[in-house]
Protein backbone atom coordinates (compact mmCIF):
# COMPACT_ATOMS: atom_id res chain seq x y z
CA UNK A 1 0.00 0.00 0.00
CA UNK A 2 1.07 3.50 -0.76
CA UNK A 3 0.18 5.47 2.36
CA UNK A 4 -0.24 9.20 1.77
CA UNK A 5 -0.05 10.88 5.18
CA UNK A 6 -2.74 13.56 5.52
CA UNK A 7 -1.55 15.42 8.59
CA UNK A 8 0.36 18.34 7.06
CA UNK A 9 -2.77 20.32 6.36
CA UNK A 10 -3.61 23.86 7.42
CA UNK A 11 -7.02 22.59 8.50
CA UNK A 12 -5.36 20.93 11.52
CA UNK A 13 -4.95 23.51 14.26
CA UNK A 14 -1.25 22.91 14.98
CA UNK A 15 -0.33 23.16 11.32
CA UNK A 16 -2.64 26.18 10.77
CA UNK A 17 -0.99 27.93 13.71
CA UNK A 18 2.48 27.05 12.41
CA UNK A 19 1.61 28.60 9.05
CA UNK A 20 0.32 31.75 10.74
CA UNK A 21 3.45 31.98 12.91
CA UNK A 22 5.82 31.02 10.05
CA UNK A 23 7.17 28.31 12.32
CA UNK A 24 8.62 25.40 10.34
CA UNK A 25 9.12 23.17 13.34
CA UNK A 26 5.59 21.69 13.77
CA UNK A 27 5.48 20.92 10.03
CA UNK A 28 8.84 19.20 10.07
CA UNK A 29 7.97 17.24 13.20
CA UNK A 30 4.69 16.11 11.66
CA UNK A 31 6.57 15.01 8.52
CA UNK A 32 8.98 12.92 10.55
CA UNK A 33 6.30 11.41 12.76
CA UNK A 34 4.21 10.34 9.79
CA UNK A 35 7.18 8.80 7.99
CA UNK A 36 8.20 6.90 11.12
CA UNK A 37 4.63 5.59 11.38
CA UNK A 38 4.75 4.15 7.86
CA UNK A 39 3.75 6.96 5.48
CA UNK A 40 5.21 6.58 1.99
CA UNK A 41 4.11 9.99 0.72
CA UNK A 42 3.35 13.21 2.63
CA UNK A 43 0.38 15.29 1.57
CA UNK A 44 0.88 19.05 1.80
CA UNK A 45 -2.21 21.24 1.98
CA UNK A 46 -2.24 24.93 2.95
CA UNK A 47 -5.82 24.71 4.24
CA UNK A 48 -8.45 27.40 4.06
CA UNK A 49 -7.27 29.84 6.70
CA UNK A 50 -4.73 31.34 4.29
CA UNK A 51 -6.03 34.04 1.92
CA UNK A 52 -6.33 32.78 -1.65
CA UNK A 53 -3.74 35.17 -3.01
CA UNK A 54 -1.16 34.01 -0.46
CA UNK A 55 -1.65 30.28 -1.01
CA UNK A 56 1.07 29.74 -3.67
CA UNK A 57 3.64 31.38 -1.43
CA UNK A 58 2.51 29.45 1.64
CA UNK A 59 2.59 26.17 -0.32
CA UNK A 60 6.14 26.96 -1.42
CA UNK A 61 7.15 27.64 2.18
CA UNK A 62 5.50 24.46 3.51
CA UNK A 63 7.16 22.33 0.84
CA UNK A 64 10.55 23.89 1.54
CA UNK A 65 10.13 23.23 5.24
CA UNK A 66 9.21 19.59 4.59
CA UNK A 67 11.98 19.08 2.05
CA UNK A 68 14.52 20.17 4.67
CA UNK A 69 13.77 16.93 6.53
CA UNK A 70 12.89 14.43 3.79
CA UNK A 71 13.43 13.48 0.17
CA UNK A 72 10.39 11.18 0.26
CA UNK A 73 7.52 11.75 -2.20
CA UNK A 74 5.25 14.72 -1.49
CA UNK A 75 1.66 15.10 -2.61
CA UNK A 76 0.91 18.71 -3.49
CA UNK A 77 -2.71 19.10 -2.50
CA UNK A 78 -4.71 21.94 -4.02
CA UNK A 79 -7.38 22.44 -6.66
CA UNK A 80 -5.56 25.58 -7.83
CA UNK A 81 -3.04 25.21 -10.60
CA UNK A 82 -1.01 28.16 -9.32
CA UNK A 83 -0.69 26.65 -5.86
CA UNK A 84 0.20 23.24 -7.33
CA UNK A 85 2.82 24.74 -9.65
CA UNK A 86 4.39 26.68 -6.77
CA UNK A 87 4.63 23.44 -4.79
CA UNK A 88 6.02 21.41 -7.70
CA UNK A 89 8.76 23.91 -8.43
CA UNK A 90 10.33 23.46 -5.01
CA UNK A 91 9.26 19.87 -4.24
CA UNK A 92 10.50 18.24 -7.43
CA UNK A 93 14.07 19.44 -6.97
CA UNK A 94 14.69 16.88 -4.23
CA UNK A 95 12.47 13.84 -4.63
CA UNK A 96 9.31 12.53 -6.27
CA UNK A 97 6.01 14.41 -6.29
CA UNK A 98 2.34 13.61 -6.84
CA UNK A 99 -0.17 16.23 -7.97
CA UNK A 100 -3.28 16.11 -5.78
CA UNK A 101 -5.38 16.59 -7.85
CA UNK A 102 -7.10 17.07 -11.18
CA UNK A 103 -10.71 16.25 -11.95
CA UNK A 104 -11.95 14.62 -15.12
CA UNK A 105 -13.30 17.93 -16.43
CA UNK A 106 -11.67 18.69 -19.77
CA UNK A 107 -10.28 22.10 -18.85
CA UNK A 108 -8.66 20.66 -15.70
CA UNK A 109 -7.16 17.71 -17.58
CA UNK A 110 -5.82 20.11 -20.24
CA UNK A 111 -4.12 22.14 -17.53
CA UNK A 112 -2.87 19.50 -15.08
CA UNK A 113 -1.74 16.59 -17.30
CA UNK A 114 0.89 18.70 -19.13
CA UNK A 115 2.06 19.86 -15.69
CA UNK A 116 2.50 16.21 -14.58
CA UNK A 117 4.46 15.59 -17.78
CA UNK A 118 6.58 18.73 -17.37
CA UNK A 119 7.64 17.89 -13.80
CA UNK A 120 7.60 14.09 -14.21
CA UNK A 121 5.15 13.67 -11.33
CA UNK A 122 2.36 11.36 -10.35
CA UNK A 123 -1.19 12.69 -10.56
CA UNK A 124 -4.40 11.94 -8.72
CA UNK A 125 -7.55 12.16 -10.86
CA UNK A 126 -10.91 12.59 -9.12
CA UNK A 127 -14.11 11.20 -10.60
CA UNK A 128 -15.63 14.64 -10.96
CA UNK A 129 -16.47 16.24 -14.28
CA UNK A 130 -18.41 19.22 -15.61
CA UNK A 131 -21.56 17.74 -14.02
CA UNK A 132 -20.08 17.33 -10.55
CA UNK A 133 -19.26 14.18 -8.57
CA UNK A 134 -20.19 11.00 -10.41
CA UNK A 135 -22.28 8.81 -8.16
CA UNK A 136 -22.80 5.61 -10.12
CA UNK A 137 -20.22 2.97 -11.01
CA UNK A 138 -20.71 3.62 -14.75
CA UNK A 139 -20.34 7.37 -14.43
CA UNK A 140 -17.21 6.97 -12.28
CA UNK A 141 -15.74 4.53 -14.80
CA UNK A 142 -16.43 6.88 -17.68
CA UNK A 143 -14.53 9.69 -15.96
CA UNK A 144 -11.78 7.30 -14.88
CA UNK A 145 -11.32 6.28 -18.51
CA UNK A 146 -11.19 9.91 -19.54
CA UNK A 147 -8.40 10.55 -17.02
CA UNK A 148 -6.49 7.46 -18.18
CA UNK A 149 -6.78 8.56 -21.83
CA UNK A 150 -5.63 12.08 -20.99
CA UNK A 151 -2.58 10.62 -19.21
CA UNK A 152 -1.76 8.50 -22.27
CA UNK A 153 -2.14 11.45 -24.61
CA UNK A 154 0.25 13.46 -22.47
CA UNK A 155 2.82 10.66 -22.08
CA UNK A 156 2.22 10.36 -18.35
CA UNK A 157 3.02 6.69 -17.56
CA UNK A 158 0.18 4.63 -16.05
CA UNK A 159 2.41 3.89 -13.00
CA UNK A 160 2.03 7.61 -12.18
CA UNK A 161 -1.77 7.78 -12.44
CA UNK A 162 -3.94 7.52 -9.30
CA UNK A 163 -7.69 7.31 -9.82
CA UNK A 164 -9.82 8.46 -6.89
CA UNK A 165 -13.41 7.16 -7.07
CA UNK A 166 -14.36 9.67 -4.30
CA UNK A 167 -15.94 8.20 -1.25
CA UNK A 168 -18.79 10.25 0.21
CA UNK A 169 -19.64 10.27 3.93
CA UNK A 170 -21.64 7.21 4.87
CA UNK A 171 -23.71 9.43 7.12
CA UNK A 172 -25.05 11.41 4.17
CA UNK A 173 -24.86 8.86 1.34
CA UNK A 174 -25.03 5.32 2.53
CA UNK A 175 -24.90 3.97 -1.00
CA UNK A 176 -21.51 5.53 -1.67
CA UNK A 177 -19.20 2.95 0.00
CA UNK A 178 -20.65 0.04 -1.98
CA UNK A 179 -20.51 1.97 -5.26
CA UNK A 180 -16.95 3.01 -4.48
CA UNK A 181 -15.86 -0.57 -3.78
CA UNK A 182 -17.33 -1.75 -7.06
CA UNK A 183 -15.61 1.12 -8.88
CA UNK A 184 -12.23 0.29 -7.30
CA UNK A 185 -12.23 -3.23 -8.71
CA UNK A 186 -13.35 -1.97 -12.14
CA UNK A 187 -10.69 0.77 -12.21
CA UNK A 188 -8.03 -1.91 -12.00
CA UNK A 189 -9.24 -3.27 -15.33
CA UNK A 190 -9.08 -0.01 -17.25
CA UNK A 191 -5.57 -0.56 -18.56
CA UNK A 192 -2.57 -2.86 -18.41
CA UNK A 193 -0.57 -1.98 -16.38
CA UNK A 194 -3.49 -0.66 -14.33
CA UNK A 195 -3.59 2.79 -12.76
CA UNK A 196 -3.25 3.09 -8.99
CA UNK A 197 -6.49 3.54 -7.08
CA UNK A 198 -6.55 5.91 -4.13
CA UNK A 199 -9.19 7.30 -1.77
CA UNK A 200 -9.25 10.15 0.70
CA UNK A 201 -10.21 7.74 3.46
CA UNK A 202 -11.41 10.03 6.22
CA UNK A 203 -14.15 11.38 3.98
CA UNK A 204 -16.15 8.19 4.55
CA UNK A 205 -16.59 9.03 8.22
CA UNK A 206 -17.26 12.80 8.01
CA UNK A 207 -19.72 13.97 10.69
CA UNK A 208 -20.09 10.44 12.06
CA UNK A 209 -19.48 9.58 15.71
CA UNK A 210 -17.45 6.38 15.16
CA UNK A 211 -14.95 7.99 12.80
CA UNK A 212 -11.92 5.75 13.39
CA UNK A 213 -13.96 2.58 13.31
CA UNK A 214 -15.62 3.50 10.02
CA UNK A 215 -12.30 4.49 8.47
CA UNK A 216 -10.71 1.20 9.49
CA UNK A 217 -13.56 -0.98 8.26
CA UNK A 218 -13.70 0.78 4.92
CA UNK A 219 -9.94 0.69 4.41
CA UNK A 220 -9.89 -3.08 4.82
CA UNK A 221 -12.81 -3.49 2.40
CA UNK A 222 -11.20 -1.20 -0.16
CA UNK A 223 -7.90 -3.12 0.00
CA UNK A 224 -9.85 -6.31 -0.62
CA UNK A 225 -11.42 -4.62 -3.66
CA UNK A 226 -7.98 -3.74 -5.07
CA UNK A 227 -7.22 -0.24 -3.81
CA UNK A 228 -3.44 0.23 -3.53
CA UNK A 229 -3.06 3.77 -2.16
CA UNK A 230 -4.81 5.69 0.57
CA UNK A 231 -4.74 9.21 1.94
CA UNK A 232 -5.15 8.80 5.68
CA UNK A 233 -3.68 9.39 9.12
CA UNK A 234 -0.67 7.07 9.53
CA UNK A 235 -0.50 8.02 13.21
CA UNK A 236 -3.62 5.90 13.75
CA UNK A 237 -1.71 2.78 14.73
CA UNK A 238 -4.71 0.46 14.76
CA UNK A 239 -5.65 1.64 11.27
CA UNK A 240 -2.13 0.97 10.02
CA UNK A 241 -2.03 -2.48 11.61
CA UNK A 242 -5.37 -3.36 10.03
CA UNK A 243 -4.09 -2.17 6.65
CA UNK A 244 -0.93 -4.28 6.93
CA UNK A 245 -3.00 -7.27 8.00
CA UNK A 246 -5.49 -6.81 5.17
CA UNK A 247 -2.61 -6.92 2.68
CA UNK A 248 -1.37 -10.08 4.33
CA UNK A 249 -4.81 -11.69 4.12
CA UNK A 250 -4.95 -10.75 0.43
CA UNK A 251 -1.64 -12.63 -0.02
CA UNK A 252 0.06 -9.43 -1.11
CA UNK A 253 2.87 -9.95 1.40
CA UNK A 254 4.49 -13.02 2.89
CA UNK A 255 3.42 -13.99 6.39
CA UNK A 256 5.94 -14.08 9.21
CA UNK A 257 5.25 -13.94 12.95
CA UNK A 258 6.76 -10.44 13.08
CA UNK A 259 4.98 -9.15 9.97
CA UNK A 260 3.75 -5.93 11.62
CA UNK A 261 7.21 -5.01 12.82
CA UNK A 262 8.74 -5.98 9.48
CA UNK A 263 6.37 -3.66 7.62
CA UNK A 264 6.92 -0.67 9.83
CA UNK A 265 10.67 -1.06 9.94
CA UNK A 266 11.29 -1.91 6.35
CA UNK A 267 8.24 -1.07 4.26
Amino acid sequence: MIVIGERINGMFRSIGDAIAAKDKKPIQEMAERQLAAGADVLDINVGTRVAKADRPEVMRWMVEATREVTGKPLSIDSPSIDVVRAGLEVASVKGPVIINSTTGAQDRLDAFMPLAKEFGTGIIGLTIDENGIANTVDAKLEIGMRIVSAAMENDVPMEEVYLDPIILPVKTDQNSPRVTLETISQFKMLSDPPPHVVVGLSNVSQQATERSLINRAFLVMAIAAGMDASIHDPLDEVLMNEMITAELLMNMSIYSDSYLKAYLQHG
Binding site: I254, S258, Q265
Partner: protein
Protein backbone atom coordinates in the same frame (compact mmCIF):
# COMPACT_ATOMS: atom_id res chain seq x y z
CA UNK B 1 1.00 -9.37 -36.03
CA UNK B 2 3.42 -7.81 -33.55
CA UNK B 3 4.18 -9.84 -30.44
CA UNK B 4 2.83 -8.34 -27.22
CA UNK B 5 5.36 -6.88 -24.82
CA UNK B 6 6.11 -9.62 -22.29
CA UNK B 7 8.78 -8.08 -20.09
CA UNK B 8 7.94 -7.73 -16.41
CA UNK B 9 8.84 -4.60 -14.49
CA UNK B 10 10.05 -5.32 -10.97
CA UNK B 11 10.25 -2.79 -8.20
CA UNK B 12 13.23 -4.09 -6.25
CA UNK B 13 16.57 -5.82 -6.73
CA UNK B 14 18.06 -8.68 -4.70
CA UNK B 15 20.78 -7.50 -2.31
CA UNK B 16 24.33 -7.84 -3.54
CA UNK B 17 26.50 -9.60 -0.96
CA UNK B 18 30.29 -9.59 -1.13
CA UNK B 19 32.03 -12.65 0.28
CA UNK B 20 35.76 -12.69 0.97
CA UNK B 21 38.13 -9.80 1.63
CA UNK B 22 41.50 -9.24 -0.06
CA UNK B 23 44.56 -7.61 1.50
CA UNK B 24 43.25 -4.15 0.60
CA UNK B 25 40.29 -4.74 2.94
CA UNK B 26 42.08 -6.42 5.80
CA UNK B 27 41.71 -10.02 4.61
CA UNK B 28 43.96 -12.49 2.80
CA UNK B 29 41.65 -13.78 0.04
CA UNK B 30 43.04 -13.91 -3.48
CA UNK B 31 39.54 -13.83 -4.95
CA UNK B 32 36.35 -12.19 -3.76
CA UNK B 33 32.88 -13.06 -4.99
CA UNK B 34 29.74 -10.99 -5.31
CA UNK B 35 26.38 -12.74 -5.31
CA UNK B 36 22.84 -11.47 -5.81
CA UNK B 37 21.96 -8.12 -7.34
CA UNK B 38 19.36 -9.64 -9.69
CA UNK B 39 16.69 -7.29 -10.98
CA UNK B 40 14.51 -9.98 -12.57
CA UNK B 41 13.97 -13.73 -12.53
CA UNK B 42 17.04 -15.83 -13.40
CA UNK B 43 18.46 -15.57 -16.90
CA UNK B 44 15.71 -13.27 -18.20
CA UNK B 45 18.44 -11.27 -19.86
CA UNK B 46 15.88 -9.38 -21.94
CA UNK B 47 14.40 -7.93 -18.75
CA UNK B 48 17.58 -7.13 -16.87
CA UNK B 49 21.07 -8.59 -17.22
CA UNK B 50 22.18 -10.73 -14.27
CA UNK B 51 24.92 -8.69 -12.60
CA UNK B 52 26.53 -11.74 -10.96
CA UNK B 53 26.55 -15.32 -12.06
CA UNK B 54 25.77 -18.13 -9.65
CA UNK B 55 28.87 -19.08 -7.69
CA UNK B 56 29.82 -22.73 -7.28
CA UNK B 57 31.27 -23.73 -3.91
CA UNK B 58 32.71 -27.10 -2.97
CA UNK B 59 32.17 -28.90 0.28
CA UNK B 60 35.16 -29.64 2.52
CA UNK B 61 34.76 -31.44 5.84
CA UNK B 62 36.81 -31.13 9.01
CA UNK B 63 36.71 -34.90 9.37
CA UNK B 64 36.83 -37.80 6.95
CA UNK B 65 33.30 -38.58 5.75
CA UNK B 66 32.44 -42.16 6.59
CA UNK B 67 29.19 -42.57 4.70
CA UNK B 68 29.90 -40.93 1.35
CA UNK B 69 29.40 -43.13 -1.70
CA UNK B 70 32.54 -44.77 -3.14
CA UNK B 71 32.37 -42.92 -6.51
CA UNK B 72 32.45 -39.63 -4.61
CA UNK B 73 35.32 -40.68 -2.31
CA UNK B 74 37.31 -42.04 -5.26
CA UNK B 75 36.90 -38.83 -7.23
CA UNK B 76 38.15 -36.76 -4.30
CA UNK B 77 41.04 -39.09 -3.45
CA UNK B 78 43.38 -38.84 -0.50
CA UNK B 79 42.79 -35.15 0.09
CA UNK B 80 39.79 -35.95 2.28
CA UNK B 81 42.25 -36.83 5.04
CA UNK B 82 43.22 -33.18 5.48
CA UNK B 83 40.79 -30.25 5.27
CA UNK B 84 43.63 -27.98 4.12
CA UNK B 85 44.70 -30.35 1.34
CA UNK B 86 41.07 -30.89 0.38
CA UNK B 87 40.49 -27.15 0.13
CA UNK B 88 43.68 -26.72 -1.87
CA UNK B 89 42.54 -29.40 -4.33
CA UNK B 90 39.11 -27.72 -4.65
CA UNK B 91 40.83 -24.55 -5.73
CA UNK B 92 43.72 -25.84 -7.83
CA UNK B 93 42.39 -29.11 -9.23
CA UNK B 94 38.60 -29.08 -9.18
CA UNK B 95 37.90 -25.45 -10.07
CA UNK B 96 35.71 -24.46 -7.10
CA UNK B 97 34.99 -20.75 -6.69
CA UNK B 98 34.40 -20.94 -2.94
CA UNK B 99 35.08 -23.42 -0.16
CA UNK B 100 32.24 -24.53 2.07
CA UNK B 101 33.92 -25.83 5.21
CA UNK B 102 31.45 -28.04 7.05
CA UNK B 103 32.38 -28.61 10.69
CA UNK B 104 30.71 -32.00 10.90
CA UNK B 105 33.44 -33.29 13.17
CA UNK B 106 32.34 -30.95 15.96
CA UNK B 107 28.95 -32.68 16.23
CA UNK B 108 28.79 -34.79 19.39
CA UNK B 109 27.85 -37.81 17.28
CA UNK B 110 30.63 -37.36 14.72
CA UNK B 111 33.77 -36.86 16.80
CA UNK B 112 32.81 -33.97 19.09
CA UNK B 113 35.86 -31.93 18.09
CA UNK B 114 36.48 -28.95 20.36
CA UNK B 115 35.81 -25.33 19.38
CA UNK B 116 39.57 -24.72 19.41
CA UNK B 117 40.19 -27.67 17.13
CA UNK B 118 37.52 -26.35 14.74
CA UNK B 119 39.04 -22.88 14.81
CA UNK B 120 42.43 -24.42 13.97
CA UNK B 121 40.87 -26.16 10.97
CA UNK B 122 39.35 -22.87 9.81
CA UNK B 123 42.79 -21.25 10.07
CA UNK B 124 44.47 -24.05 8.15
CA UNK B 125 41.91 -23.86 5.37
CA UNK B 126 42.25 -20.10 5.14
CA UNK B 127 46.01 -20.54 4.80
CA UNK B 128 45.72 -23.32 2.25
CA UNK B 129 43.43 -21.50 -0.18
CA UNK B 130 42.82 -17.99 -1.47
CA UNK B 131 39.12 -18.67 -2.14
CA UNK B 132 36.34 -17.03 -0.11
CA UNK B 133 35.16 -19.26 2.72
CA UNK B 134 31.76 -20.48 3.87
CA UNK B 135 31.83 -21.88 7.41
CA UNK B 136 28.94 -24.24 8.17
CA UNK B 137 28.19 -25.57 11.64
CA UNK B 138 28.01 -29.25 12.46
CA UNK B 139 24.24 -29.15 12.85
CA UNK B 140 24.03 -29.40 16.65
CA UNK B 141 22.65 -26.10 17.94
CA UNK B 142 24.27 -26.07 21.38
CA UNK B 143 27.65 -27.15 20.07
CA UNK B 144 27.47 -24.77 17.11
CA UNK B 145 26.97 -21.92 19.57
CA UNK B 146 30.33 -22.78 21.13
CA UNK B 147 32.17 -23.60 17.91
CA UNK B 148 31.05 -20.98 15.44
CA UNK B 149 31.88 -17.84 17.49
CA UNK B 150 35.46 -19.17 17.84
CA UNK B 151 35.67 -19.82 14.11
CA UNK B 152 34.19 -16.41 13.38
CA UNK B 153 36.85 -14.84 15.56
CA UNK B 154 39.84 -16.54 13.97
CA UNK B 155 38.49 -15.63 10.54
CA UNK B 156 37.81 -11.97 11.43
CA UNK B 157 38.62 -9.68 8.53
CA UNK B 158 38.12 -12.42 5.91
CA UNK B 159 34.45 -11.54 5.38
CA UNK B 160 33.32 -15.16 5.37
CA UNK B 161 29.78 -16.45 5.01
CA UNK B 162 28.85 -18.26 8.22
CA UNK B 163 25.81 -20.31 9.07
CA UNK B 164 23.35 -21.10 10.01
CA UNK B 165 21.01 -19.11 12.22
CA UNK B 166 17.51 -20.50 12.76
CA UNK B 167 14.27 -19.18 14.18
CA UNK B 168 14.98 -20.68 17.60
CA UNK B 169 18.77 -20.32 17.61
CA UNK B 170 20.07 -17.11 16.14
CA UNK B 171 21.42 -14.79 18.82
CA UNK B 172 24.91 -16.18 19.42
CA UNK B 173 26.01 -16.51 15.82
CA UNK B 174 24.34 -13.26 14.72
CA UNK B 175 26.26 -11.40 17.43
CA UNK B 176 29.53 -13.10 16.44
CA UNK B 177 29.13 -12.31 12.73
CA UNK B 178 28.18 -8.76 13.57
CA UNK B 179 31.30 -8.30 15.71
CA UNK B 180 33.68 -9.95 13.24
CA UNK B 181 32.00 -8.41 10.16
CA UNK B 182 31.11 -11.66 8.42
CA UNK B 183 28.08 -12.44 6.29
CA UNK B 184 25.36 -14.61 7.79
CA UNK B 185 23.19 -17.50 6.55
CA UNK B 186 19.57 -17.69 7.74
CA UNK B 187 18.14 -21.21 7.62
CA UNK B 188 14.51 -22.27 7.40
CA UNK B 189 12.96 -25.70 6.91
CA UNK B 190 11.43 -25.25 3.42
CA UNK B 191 9.07 -22.70 4.95
CA UNK B 192 8.82 -19.26 3.42
CA UNK B 193 7.19 -17.72 6.51
CA UNK B 194 9.99 -18.90 8.77
CA UNK B 195 12.57 -17.76 6.19
CA UNK B 196 11.19 -14.26 6.48
CA UNK B 197 10.96 -14.46 10.27
CA UNK B 198 14.63 -15.49 10.61
CA UNK B 199 15.66 -12.48 8.54
CA UNK B 200 13.53 -10.17 10.71
CA UNK B 201 14.99 -11.63 13.91
CA UNK B 202 18.60 -11.15 12.77
CA UNK B 203 17.76 -7.68 11.50
CA UNK B 204 16.22 -6.83 14.88
CA UNK B 205 19.62 -7.50 16.44
CA UNK B 206 21.06 -4.86 14.14
CA UNK B 207 22.46 -7.28 11.58
CA UNK B 208 22.43 -5.59 8.15
CA UNK B 209 20.03 -7.28 5.73
CA UNK B 210 22.57 -6.57 3.00
CA UNK B 211 24.94 -9.08 4.58
CA UNK B 212 22.50 -11.97 4.79
CA UNK B 213 22.06 -15.02 2.59
CA UNK B 214 19.04 -17.32 2.82
CA UNK B 215 19.21 -21.08 3.07
CA UNK B 216 15.61 -22.19 2.53
CA UNK B 217 16.73 -25.88 2.75
CA UNK B 218 17.42 -27.90 -0.34
CA UNK B 219 15.79 -31.04 -1.66
CA UNK B 220 17.30 -33.38 -4.23
CA UNK B 221 15.82 -34.42 -7.51
CA UNK B 222 13.10 -36.92 -6.65
CA UNK B 223 13.05 -35.90 -2.99
CA UNK B 224 10.85 -32.83 -2.72
CA UNK B 225 12.67 -30.69 -5.22
CA UNK B 226 9.46 -29.31 -6.72
CA UNK B 227 8.50 -28.06 -3.28
CA UNK B 228 11.89 -26.49 -2.66
CA UNK B 229 11.79 -24.97 -6.11
CA UNK B 230 8.40 -23.35 -5.63
CA UNK B 231 9.32 -21.96 -2.19
CA UNK B 232 12.50 -20.48 -3.61
CA UNK B 233 10.67 -19.03 -6.58
CA UNK B 234 7.93 -17.51 -4.41
CA UNK B 235 10.53 -15.90 -2.19
CA UNK B 236 12.27 -14.44 -5.20
CA UNK B 237 9.00 -13.09 -6.65
CA UNK B 238 8.18 -11.44 -3.31
CA UNK B 239 11.63 -9.87 -3.14
CA UNK B 240 11.50 -8.52 -6.69
CA UNK B 241 8.03 -7.20 -5.86
CA UNK B 242 9.40 -5.13 -2.97
CA UNK B 243 9.66 -7.32 0.15
CA UNK B 244 12.96 -6.23 1.70
CA UNK B 245 12.84 -9.10 4.17
CA UNK B 246 13.10 -11.59 1.30
CA UNK B 247 15.67 -9.78 -0.83
CA UNK B 248 18.62 -11.97 0.11
CA UNK B 249 20.64 -14.15 -2.23
CA UNK B 250 19.95 -17.86 -1.82
CA UNK B 251 22.40 -20.69 -1.07
CA UNK B 252 21.61 -24.33 -1.95
CA UNK B 253 23.27 -27.43 -0.43
CA UNK B 254 23.03 -29.56 -3.53
CA UNK B 255 25.88 -32.05 -2.97
CA UNK B 256 24.68 -32.98 0.47
CA UNK B 257 21.09 -33.57 -0.65
CA UNK B 258 21.75 -35.22 -4.01
CA UNK B 259 24.10 -37.79 -2.49
CA UNK B 260 21.51 -38.81 0.06
CA UNK B 261 19.32 -40.09 -2.78
CA UNK B 262 19.40 -43.81 -3.36
CA UNK B 263 19.39 -43.09 -7.08
CA UNK B 264 22.74 -41.30 -6.72
CA UNK B 265 24.62 -43.72 -4.53
CA UNK B 266 23.24 -47.20 -5.22
CA UNK B 267 25.67 -49.45 -7.12
CA UNK B 268 25.04 -50.84 -10.60
CA UNK B 269 25.26 -54.24 -9.04
CA UNK B 270 22.21 -53.52 -6.88
CA UNK B 271 20.26 -51.88 -9.71
CA UNK B 272 21.72 -52.95 -13.07
CA UNK B 273 19.00 -51.12 -15.00
CA UNK B 274 20.07 -47.78 -13.45
CA UNK B 275 23.48 -47.87 -15.12
CA UNK B 276 27.02 -47.05 -14.06
CA UNK B 277 27.14 -45.33 -10.64
CA UNK B 278 30.30 -43.43 -11.62
CA UNK B 279 28.17 -41.43 -14.05
CA UNK B 280 24.80 -41.61 -12.33
CA UNK B 281 25.83 -40.01 -9.02
CA UNK B 282 27.39 -36.88 -10.51
CA UNK B 283 24.48 -36.60 -12.96
CA UNK B 284 21.97 -36.71 -10.11
CA UNK B 285 23.87 -33.93 -8.38
CA UNK B 286 24.18 -31.88 -11.58
CA UNK B 287 20.50 -32.20 -12.49
CA UNK B 288 19.45 -31.08 -9.02
CA UNK B 289 21.79 -28.09 -9.27
CA UNK B 290 20.67 -27.05 -12.75
CA UNK B 291 17.03 -27.12 -11.68
CA UNK B 292 17.74 -24.88 -8.70
CA UNK B 293 19.61 -22.42 -10.89
CA UNK B 294 16.28 -21.70 -12.52
CA UNK B 295 14.70 -21.03 -9.13
CA UNK B 296 17.25 -18.32 -8.45
CA UNK B 297 20.08 -20.04 -6.55
CA UNK B 298 23.00 -17.65 -6.05
CA UNK B 299 25.46 -20.03 -4.39
CA UNK B 300 25.45 -23.77 -4.99
CA UNK B 301 27.47 -26.09 -2.78
CA UNK B 302 28.60 -29.23 -4.64
CA UNK B 303 30.51 -32.40 -3.76
CA UNK B 304 31.61 -34.26 -6.90
CA UNK B 305 34.36 -32.62 -9.03
CA UNK B 306 32.75 -33.80 -12.27
CA UNK B 307 29.33 -32.43 -11.34
CA UNK B 308 30.93 -29.15 -10.31
CA UNK B 309 32.81 -28.79 -13.60
CA UNK B 310 29.66 -29.53 -15.61
CA UNK B 311 27.62 -27.08 -13.55
CA UNK B 312 30.10 -24.30 -14.23
CA UNK B 313 29.70 -24.96 -17.96
CA UNK B 314 25.90 -24.80 -17.72
CA UNK B 315 26.09 -21.51 -15.84
CA UNK B 316 28.45 -20.05 -18.44
CA UNK B 317 26.00 -21.08 -21.19
CA UNK B 318 23.00 -19.60 -19.36
CA UNK B 319 24.82 -16.33 -18.80
CA UNK B 320 25.21 -15.75 -22.54
CA UNK B 321 22.74 -13.00 -23.45
Amino acid sequence: MPLPEATERWTMAINEVTIGAGPDEGGTRKSVVKVGGEKSLPYMHFEAPMPNRTVVAMEVWDCVPTDWAPPLMEALGDVVNSPAEWAKACEAKFGAEMICLTLKGTHPDFGDASPDAAAAVVKSVLQATGLPLIIWGGGHDEKDNLVLPKCSQVAAGERCLIGTVKEDNYKTLTAACLADRHNLIGESPIDINIAKQVNILASDMGFPLERMVMFPATGALGYGMEYVYSIQERGRLAALGGDKMMAMPVICQVGQEAWRAKEAKATAEEFPQWGDEQERGPLWELTTAVSLLQAGADIIVMRHPKALAALKKVIAELMKP
